[in-house]
């Protein structure tokens, strides 16, 4: 009984390591896009998602562990974005001009290639809204090329003598 338990633990550990070796790079890229290359936030998100995958490893039989880990990552990010969901954060990075929601939809749709219906179900939004957010994000991204993305300091308006 005991050895059977240890055996299953060892197998879980072995399979998990193989999975992380294959999937961590791509998941990290997703996390980096979402958090605008914030290394600390990236690491936390990724560690959370992977540990959740480890926790539920035996329940994932027949399912795609990558899809599960990505779902955990995305949901953790959405929870964390919370109040900042529809606001732009002053960070630099490829997607810094987008809101958290736009970033999430864009990354899932175009980088990960998830169906609109699945994105809508994952984020709890209507499909039309996913489509609209994606189009808007694309426009924002294309309206200013990455080279000009750096925040431009607003010149102080000369007050003049009063």
């Amino acid at each position: 009984m005991r050895s059977g338990h240890e055996e299953s633990e060892r197998r879980r550990s072995y399979e998990f390591e193989a999975f992380v070796g294959g999937a961590a790079g791509r998941l990290l890229h997703v996390a980096a896009l979402l958090t605008c290359e914030d290394a600390k936030a990236c690491d936390q998100l990724l560690c959370h998602a992977l540990s959740r995958a480890y926790l539920n490893w035996t329940r994932l039989r027949g399912e795609d562990p990558y899809a599960y880990a990505r779902q955990e990552l995305v949901l953790a990010y959405a929870r964390r974005a919370g109040a900042r969901w529809l606001h732009r954060e002053p960070r630099d990075g490829r997607l810094s001009r987008l809101t958290a929601q736009e970033r999430l939809v864009l990354v899932l749709r175009l980088y990960e290639g998830v169906d609109e219906e699945q994105v809508a179900a994952l984020l709890g939004m209507p499909v039309d809204r996913v489509r609209a957010v994606c189009a808007r994000a694309c426009n924002t991204l294309r309206s200013t090329p990455p080279a000009a993305a750096a925040p431009v300091a607003v010149p102080a308006v000369a007050g003049g003598a009063r």
């Binding site: 390591e17 992380v20 489509r131």
Partner: protein
């Protein structure tokens, strides 16, 4: 510059605009920390341990509640003996 419309995303036909955005999303790849797998596994194992402890506690509570209920039911079962003497005799016609 032509703007994307909602309809552009309704079709799966790969076009120039889509590829342009995809290229933006691709690009340089951050390096995976070497100890990530170990840390994630440790954290996962901790979560698993916590879940098992919680399940054990819940199971013990359920068993204790079942035993307590059975004992109480046996002790205070109202109609396990003969008919109490103060009960009115059955009416016969």
């Amino acid at each position: 510059m032509s703007r994307c419309t909602v309809d552009d995303w309704a079709s799966d036909v790969p076009d120039r605009k889509l590829d342009e955005v995809r290229r933006t999303l691709g690009g340089p790849h951050p390096a995976v920390p070497a100890d990530l797998s170990r840390r994630a596994e440790e954290r996962g194992r901790r979560l698993l341990h916590r879940r098992r402890v919680l399940h054990g506690v819940l199971l013990a509570l359920a068993v204790a509640a079942l035993i307590a209920f059975t004992v109480l039911a046996i002790l205070t079962w109202p109609w396990n003996g003969a008919t109490p003497p103060e009960t009115a005799p059955p009416v016969t016609w």
